[in-house]
């Protein structure tokens, strides 16, 4: 013992530096299992979205806007219990991480006894990481595992599921958009059909095609009859002054009367108190015709908005684009053995410094 230098015999030094460093050396040198890291990169893209608010524009100009909320969705999904449970069902990752090729500290459940899925979820969040680069919105997915194959396989499956999620979101959004437009079209169609039927029904019932056009001919008739009536009345007036006893006079008088009666009859057909008059039919006809026209226009606009919705849905697709596929690590990058041993050693030194200074400060007090 005497031959050893004083700083080794110092018990503080032993406990704060020598023992921790030795333990770290033992663990990292001989026990700690290799950890392989598989990395993949992807980006979630959506076609340019217009920023609506002026504040948003300003923020975007200042580079503060949190672009790509959609990437957060994917990140959240990958780190969710859902993703973990899916992987557990497909690959049995819980038992894969509990296999003895991991060391007793690194594997699941480590020093814990609790091997529930909830506890595994906490472990899962340690081995799977998604990092979002806020400026480029590129996401990096890293998976740690005790073998290279597993790391790559888990990474690949997670990426596939993330893509499925994006597709599902797309499909849902599209369906919602298009279904709404289609509903509108169906409603407009029904209305247009109903209006057309009502109009046809009316035509059949009332024996009329278009009262206003049909009124043109009787009106011309009336004009002609009136002309004739005026002629006849002029003749009558002439004869009454020049030849009172002309035998033609009673004939002309009769003719005038007949003409008057005819005019009355025809005009009653067009407009009159009678239900059958074209004028009384015109009001109802106009209403039905207007309704039909309106329904047709509605249908046309619904059709065009359906077309628009289809285009929009196509345009607003989210894409999960792979930048780099899950890598197959050919060497274990973790644990960083020398670095960790060194860190423990340095921390031990700091600890030792603090402790020995404290002890020295206490020792300054003597009787």
């Amino acid at each position: 013992m005497k031959t050893l230098p004083k700083w080794i015999r110092d018990r503080l030094f032993l406990f704060s530096v020598v023992i921790p460093t030795a333990l770290a050396f033992l663990y990292y040198g001989f026990i700690a299992a290799d950890v392989y890291i598989s990395e993949s990169r992807f980006v979630v893209r959506s076609p340019e979205r217009q920023t609506t608010s002026p504040l948003g524009l300003i923020l975007k100009g200042a580079g503060i806007s949190r672009a790509q909320d959609d990437a957060f969705v994917v990140q959240d999904y990958i780190l969710s219990r859902d993703a973990m449970l899916t992987l557990e069902k497909e690959l049995g990752i819980k038992s894969a991480y509990s296999r003895p090729n991991g060391d007793f500290l690194g594997r699941f459940p480590g020093l814990d006894w609790d091997d529930s899925l909830e506890n595994f979820y906490r472990y899962y969040q340690k081995v799977v990481a998604v990092q979002l680069d806020p400026s480029s919105s590129i996401a990096t997915l890293t998976v740690r595992a005790f073998t290279a194959e597993e790391a790559q396989k888990i990474n690949q499956r997670l990426l596939d599921h993330a893509e499925e999620l994006v597709n599902r979101l797309n499909k849902r959004a599209q369906e919602d958009m298009i279904r709404f437009a289609e509903n509108e079209v169906a409603k407009a169609e029904a209305k247009a059909r109903q209006a057309a039927l009502a109009l046809a029904d009316y035509r059949n019932r009332e024996n009329v095609i278009n009262p206003e056009q049909q009124a043109v001919i009787p009106l011309q008739q009336i004009a002609k009859l009136q002309e004739e009536l005026i002629n006849t009345q002029t003749q009558i007036a002439q004869l009454e002054q020049l030849a009172r006893n002309n035998p033609q006079l009673p004939v002309l008088r009769k003719q005038a009367e007949m003409l008057k009666a005819e005019i009355e009859r025809v005009s009653a057909n067009i407009a009159g108190a009678v239900d059958k008059s074209l004028a009384s039919k015109s009001a109802e006809f106009q209403r039905l015709a207007l309704e039909k026209e309106f329904a047709d226009k509605m249908l046309a606009s619904a059709m065009s908005s359906l077309e628009l919705a289809r285009n929009e849905a196509q345009r607003q697709q989210l894409y999960l684009e792979h930048i780099s596929a899950p890598s197959f690590p050919d060497a274990a990058m973790e644990p960083r053995r020398v670095r960790n041993i060194l860190a423990v050693f340095l921390m031990g030194l700091v600890m030792w410094g603090v402790l020995s200074l404290t002890v020295a400060a206490v020792k300054e007090h003597v009787d």
Binding site: R66, P134, M347, M351, V354, V359, A361, K363, H365, V366
Partner: protein, 265 residues
């Protein structure tokens, strides 16, 4: 003659030191708060006035309907500022008024610092505790979400204050300008200390920068303890422990150096 074991000697020294610090503590309480005026009560009245003032200001501006309970937010922020600022400031001038006491062999310079640090930390803690209880009783502050997180955050912040107090305290003995510079720095540091903002409110690139500051990590943890899931806190306890550990070493070294330096005079 029986040899005295080193452990026994250490325990004996510790006992003496505890008595010295205890005596210094009593002296500090009287000089710090005095017997006139409301004395000790200033410890609570000061932060209470500040919190109420901020509350009035926010209410007048109509901003009190924000997501966070503003009283609890202000109180926790001011209390943490009070903790590190008072502790560090009070050590800047710890030696000079107690110079005469240094003639006693067992009054070491570290005892002066430790007694002041203990006094300030416990003062700030008691003030935070009592104000929280008062505000909770009046319903201005809700029940905390996780008491353990609050305690850990408070402990880490107190530890950080201790490190900084030792460093600033001993440096200001060596050079008077350090004390003055520190006062300026502490004002500049005030808005950065995390007392009046949440990291989540900042843009991402600023978040990373601001999380290098240990006090920000502490206040984040403190607020997570207070508000739970209402806030999204960013912090790393490991980082704060590391920084505190690393700062403690130069602190103790400087105190030791100052002790030798003063004795040499």
């Amino acid at each position: 003659m029986s040899a005295v074991l080193p452990e026994q000697k250490l325990v004996r020294s510790l006992r003496i030191q505890a008595r010295v610090i205890g005596a210094l503590l009593m002296r500090e309480i009287i000089t710090r708060y005095g017997r006139h005026n409301i004395g000790f009560l200033w410890l609570f009245v000061e932060p209470m006035m500040f919190t109420l003032g901020v509350l009035a200001l926010w209410t007048a501006l109509g901003l009190h309907k924000v997501v966070l309970p503003i009283v609890a937010f202000t109180l926790s922020g001011y209390a943490s500022v009070l903790l590190w600022r008072n502790t560090i400031n009070r050590c800047g001038n710890a030696v000079e008024p107690n110079r005469a006491l240094m003639h006693h062999r067992n009054v070491r310079i570290i005892d002066l610092y430790v007694s002041r640090i203990i006094l300030e930390i416990s003062g700030a803690s008691i003030s935070f505790l009592i104000l929280s209880v008062v505000f909770m009783a009046t319903g201005l502050v809700g029940m905390p979400d996780d008491l353990l997180k609050i305690l850990i955050a408070w402990f880490l912040l107190a530890w950080f204050s201790l490190d900084m107090a030792l460093i600033i305290g001993s440096l200001s003995v060596l050079s008077e300008s350090v004390d003055r510079i520190w006062h300026v720095v502490s004002y500049l540091f005030l808005p950065l200390s995390g007392a009046f903002f949440m990291v989540d409110w900042l843009p991402t690139y600023a978040q990373e920068l601001v999380l290098w500051i240990p006090t920000v990590n502490c206040t984040e943890l403190l607020r997570e303890g207070l508000f739970g899931n209402l806030v999204r806190a960013h912090y790393s306890v490991g980082y704060v422990v590391l920084v505190n550990m690393l700062l403690l070493l130069p602190g103790l070294l400087l105190v030791r150096y100052v002790g030798l330096h003063l004795e040499g005079e």
